[in-house]
């Protein structure tokens, strides 16, 4: 089958300009659901997991864990229900890819859910979407209803005898519910405070049952791998990080937007060739490669291929692929203020280091920005960030500490400039 499908390198978004693709009939007219039907008829769950492992699909939610390996953690004893959870709680500043995937390709996502549902033996998928996404939720609910009425979902999926339903659940405004165990707590109708691991969700997840949690984009890649084959998938991207991803480019570029490109595309190529370069002919100062929790990279370090194995060498990470670009007018202390305000507001408050540390960092950064900071404040800032890192139940405290540490590492002289001048030396910078 695979050789008859055209070789495309923008497979997730290939039909996104076409309104018909969002409807069930339009999706089917383009071959939609044929791959899931064929996989469910022709393959065993073990075959499916084996194929995914060979393909090497890495999760696109931020952690970058191997998706096939994650599915293989699910127990297969068949005693009681197990669940799949689609994490559609995209809330990382800089990331807007999942919203577009849900709005422009709702059936692509449903087809992407059916294959791992079959592989892991899940009876139900809970699609947990952030509360702000009212329009994507409406589009998805219609797609789920249409798919259920047509027998794509339900007691006899696509006539294969497999039973599966998708339940859409809306969040209520809390960034931490994007963390997988915070999400599970919220799904159970509680405060979204992360759980200690172990037990991991594959052992004890939603409603105490074995559960696999994957990001929206991760699911969307799956049907394409099975339609075109492992060799095709591995021919795109890098050896360790195959496939494309959706880079969301924002900030000071001429053409902000979403770009589907192979993993391993260089960061400077994304900024200058795809996003049109820095606005108004200004100079580039820095970029954050994958959402605000990822460490910033200064200009001069941006010739890095966008895949975790390369970004790690530069002290950063791909995160959600949300590229935030800052030009020469940008005050990096203000950047720290805005980022730390976000983490202060969104900390769930469960762990002391995070609850107190995020607010403390924000106060220090604001003081430095306003010109009343001291040299000692820089050391305290570094110390607080260091004591938060790795000290809490979930990775939220790390996500709050890393950007501050990276700003101090790369732009310490600018922080010192604020202290010595007792004011912000970059008056043209963005308003806070």
């Amino acid at each position: 089958m695979g050789h008859r499908v055209p070789h495309v390198t923008h497979y997730l978004t290939e039909h996104f300009a076409d309104d018909g693709y969002t409807t069930l009939s339009g999706f089917r007219a383009r071959g939609g659901y044929e791959t899931a039907r064929r996989v469910l008829v022709e393959q065993s769950p073990d075959d499916v997991i084996g194929t995914l492992k060979r393909a090497g699909l890495k999760g696109r939610g931020g952690a970058g864990f191997d998706a096939g390996t994650k599915w293989s953690f699910m127990p297969r004893d068949g005693a009681g229900p197990s669940y799949l959870v689609c994490n559609a709680d995209e809330s990382e500043p800089g990331s807007f890819k999942d919203r577009v995937l849900m709005e422009r390709g709702p059936h692509q996502l449903i087809e992407g859910i059916l294959i791992p549902a079959f592989a892991t033996g899940a009876a139900t998928t809970f699609l947990y979407i952030r509360g702000e996404y009212a329009e994507p939720a409406r589009i998805l609910q219609r797609a789920i209803d249409d798919a259920t009425a047509a027998g794509v979902l339900g007691s006899n999926v696509l006539g294969t005898g497999f039973a599966h339903q998708i339940v859409l659940v809306r969040g209520a405004g809390a960034y931490i519910c994007g963390e997988e165990t915070g999400l599970l707590e919220s799904l159970e109708g509680k405060k979204g405070q992360p759980r200690r691991k172990p037990p991991f969700p594959a052992e004890r997840g939603a409603f105490g049952r074995p559960t696999t949690v994957n990001n929206v984009e991760t699911f969307c890649h799956v049907p394409h791998i099975f339609a075109r084959g492992v060799d095709w998938f591995r021919s795109i991207g890098t050896e360790e990080s195959p496939g494309t991803t959706l880079f969301g480019v924002s900030g000071h570029v001429e053409r902000p937007g979403l770009y589907e490109l192979p993993l391993g595309t260089r960061l400077d190529e994304i900024i200058f060739e795809h996003a049109g370069g820095v606005r108004a002919g200004r100079k580039l100062k820095a970029a954050i490669p994958g959402g605000v929790s990822m460490p910033v990279l200064p200009a001069g370090h941006l010739d890095v291929p966008m895949a975790n194995e390369f970004l790690r060498e530069h002290g950063s990470s791909l995160g959600t692929g949300g590229v935030i670009v800052m030009d020469e007018t940008t005050c990096m202390v203000r950047v720290g203020c805005v980022i730390s305000e976000f983490f202060r507001d969104e900390s769930c408050g469960q762990c002391t280091q995070c609850r107190e540390g995020t607010g403390w960092m924000h106060k220090l950064l604001l003081r430095i920005e306003r010109g009343s900071g001291t040299e000692a404040d820089l050391d305290v800032l570094e110390d607080v960030a260091g004591k938060m890192e790795g000290a809490t139940i979930c990775a939220f405290a790390d996500a709050a500490a890393w950007p501050v540490q990276a700003l101090l590492r790369h732009f310490r002289s600018e922080f010192q400039g604020h202290v010595h001048a007792q004011k912000c030396p970059l008056p043209e910078s963005f308003e806070i």
Binding site: E132, V169, S250
Partner: protein, 154 residues
Amino acid sequence: MVSVETRAAIDAEIAKMPEKRGALLAALRLVQEEHGHLSLEAMEEVARIFELHPTEVLEVVSFYNHFRAQPRGRHEVNVCTSLTCSLRGGRGLLRQLQAYLGVHAGQTTSDGRISLGHEECLGACGNAPMLRIDDAYHLDLDWARAQQLLDGLE
């Protein structure tokens, strides 16, 4: 307090979940849509439906940004002030909105028309600056367009 229609919708949400409590967020959203906010009486009634202590409902309500224990204006206007929107003027837009409406973020205009607020990352970073009016996103804004949107609200 909770209408027959809302109660039926809550029961439909409960039926989708393996455990009753899984429908709590959906129920609170439905009750809030009916009454505009979640009063103590409403939270007590939701607690009875879910067989929970009222404080368990209150702690859920207070955890999430979208639940409101106090009445708000007829429209909610929220500006995104995350880093990506701030870099393209999001906080400047919020300042202009505050001046135009004569209220600070978190307050409601005296005629009860608009509650102004700001939110962190609404997932539209490629179209900054932007704001959310009730459930709808408005993208790629400048001040003239934002003003036009505000003036169009009843």
